[in-house]
């Protein structure tokens, strides 16, 4: 089998055909100006509300800054980062986040693929199934989290009752299991929809030809469907991995990070709003940002995921 992720060839054919003109025509110049004008508001908003705060967070993270004593703010270099990275709280939260991300994305991928195939193959009930998978997508995460929390609360919940008055939210690993369940329930549908759009790109003829040649359903799936869907799969996995890594709402409602179930986002929130430590909170924010950047980089460079919409360029 070929490892094709290292060979990325630029499509030459899509290069825009330019007329050999030394100077831009009046119309082309006007087009440029209009293009910049139309994009300017979006670009300015995104830079002002995302790029600037991240820069500001880096600046804050290099200070000792306690909100209760704002006058004593002082530049202390990388001390905050040292405190965070040598603290067991960070590494526990990091471990939880990585476990929740990897397990839930893996489960979502398998279930999402199965669901996508079900929706792709069934004709009569496709509408009903699609309708029902959109329910988890449309529901507010906090509401879904409460539903799961009450379901697993002893004496209140039907699930707890079903499992003999189980109280999974009071045990670290069981609670993480419930968090993963809530996450999977909420987002599998989204994964399935992305994968179904990818399935639609697999030509039916290829499947039929393979069937004639005697390939089993499993062989057809692994040798034809999966390779052809690779771009759609990578985009879906990239989106969901980054999304799962910043998990906050579900954990906040289900356990509030108690019993050592917090994610890195919960840790950052607690440091800012409970400990009121802006310096440490900012350092955590920057570290989370770096983690996300590394994940995105690995997906795009390592696995050759094309950035969604990159075909719009040019």
């Amino acid at each position: 089998m070929s490892v094709d992720s290292t060979v990325v060839t630029e499509p030459v054919a899509t290069k825009p055909v330019r007329e050999p003109k030394p100077k831009l025509s009046e119309g082309a110049r006007a087009e440029r100006r209009l293009g910049w004008m139309l994009c300017a508001p979006a670009a300015i908003i995104m830079l002002a509300v995302a790029a600037y705060p991240i820069g500001y967070a880096i600046y804050l993270s290099l200070q000792r800054y306690d909100l209760r004593f704002p006058d004593q703010a002082k530049f202390i270099g990388f001390e905050n980062y040292v405190s965070v990275l040598t603290s067991p709280f960070w590494w526990d939260a990091f471990e939880n986040t990585v476990i929740i991300t990897v397990v839930s994305v893996a489960i979502e991928f398998v279930l999402g693929m199965a669901l996508a195939i079900v929706m792709h193959r069934t004709i009569f009930t496709r509408g009903i199934v699609r309708t029902s998978v959109l329910i988890p997508y449309g529901i507010v995460t906090v509401v879904a989290a409460y539903s799961w929390q009450y379901a697993w609360t002893p004496s209140t919940g039907y699930l707890s009752k079903l499992f003999g008055d189980a109280a999974p939210l009071t045990d670290r690993w069981q609670a993480i299991g419930v968090i993963i369940l809530a996450e999977v329930w909420k987002t599998t549908a989204f994964m399935a929809l992305l994968l179904m759009a990818g399935l639609a790109l697999v030509p039916e003829d290829l499947q039929k030809a393979a069937m004639v040649d005697g390939a089993t359903a499993w062989q057809r799936f692994t040798r034809i469907t999966l390779p052809l869907m690779k771009p759609a799969i990578l985009v879906a996995l990239l989106f969901r991995t980054l999304d799962a890594f910043r998990i906050f709402d579900n954990i906040f409602i289900l356990t509030s990070g108690g019993h050592n179930t917090g994610s890195v986002s919960i840790l950052g929130y607690d440091n800012l709003f409970t400990a009121l430590n802006l310096g440490i909170g900012s350092a955590i924010s920057v570290l989370i940002f770096i983690c996300v950047a590394i994940i995105a980089f690995l997906f795009i460079k390592g696995f050759g995921a094309s950035a969604p919409g990159s075909d719009l360029r040019g």
Partner: protein, 276 residues
């Protein structure tokens, strides 16, 4: 494809399973919202005694009604601004040739991947210094930014499907590019813009982290954040019924909306991500 009856049963079972799994957690929260305080801890899936008290209870407090007004207002304004700004950019991306297009798309992709918590910490301090902490505008600004990347991607995918010959015809008739955009393209683009608006609205409506971090009172607190702070009428009373009723009220309209426009939403969700 000729399916055997065995296969049909298999698919049918799979379908029923999917439908049940998606709907049970929703039914559970609805059931809780109709439970009487005395039976709310009986652990049965259906209420034994039905009551509307939880609903009438939350509508008596400004804690919920004010939050509902905040939620609707903030989400609607953020959506309108995000879609307006994004459709200008998406038109340029889909139609015009200009340098810097890749940069714009790259930036929006970066922002779509941004961990919200990384923005919350600095924004908290910036907004306090600017005096917009705990105001509508203080939430609208991050929500617009949150919605922009998705809106730009989805809209540029929709805009590329529009029959652009009409625009050319308008230009031949002497319209400037701006006139062509406003008079010809905008009406054709309306369905795509509507779909995008639904998706952006859901993002804003759903947000919890910004809502609890950038507000401190009822002035701007939205429903998801307000629910998180609900307490019972006395400290001995559990807020389960109120939380369930408030949850149902903010969930059911969205679900009905999503189901009503499901074809468009599926198209919108997948348009930006998978094409090409």
């Amino acid at each position: 494809m000729a399916a055997t009856s065995k296969q049909k049963v298999g698919w049918g079972t799979a379908n029923v399973l999917v439908i049940l799994l998606s709907i049970i957690p929703v039914l559970w929260i609805v059931s809780l919202s109709f439970k009487d305080p005395s039976t709310i801890t009986d652990g049965s899936f259906w209420p034994k005694q039905w009551t509307w008290d939880n609903y009438s209870g939350i509508f008596k407090t400004s804690e919920f009604t004010r939050a509902l007004v905040n939620s609707i207002g903030i989400a609607l304004i953020s959506t309108a601004v995000a879609v307006a700004v994004a459709s200008m950019a998406a038109y340029a991306v889909a139609r015009l040739r200009f340098p810097g297009k890749g940069l714009l798309l790259g930036t929006s992709l970066l922002i779509a991947m941004f961990p919200a918590i990384s923005l919350v910490t600095p924004l908290f301090n910036i907004e306090r210094n600017l005096g917009i902490f705990d105001t509508w505008i203080g939430l609208i600004i991050p929500y617009v930014t949150l919605g922009l990347p998705l809106a730009i991607y989805t809209l540029s995918a929709f805009f590329r499907e529009i029959p652009w010959e009409l625009e050319k015809a308008a230009k031949v008739d002497g319209a400037t590019p701006l006139q062509a955009f406003l008079r010809v393209v905008a009406p054709l683009a309306a369905p795509g813009m509507f779909t995008t608006a639904i998706l952006v609205f859901i993002i804003c409506w759903n947000d919890f982290l910004f809502a609890i971090s950038l507000t401190s009172t009822l002035r701007a607190r939205t429903v998801p954040a307000a629910i998180g702070f609900f307490t019972g009428n006395s400290q001995f009373e559990s807020p389960v019924g109120s939380i369930a009723a408030a949850s149902v009220i903010i969930t059911i309209p969205i679900i009905i909306f999503v189901l009503f426009f499901q074809r468009r939403i599926v198209a919108g969700l997948t348009a930006g991500a998978v094409k090409g």
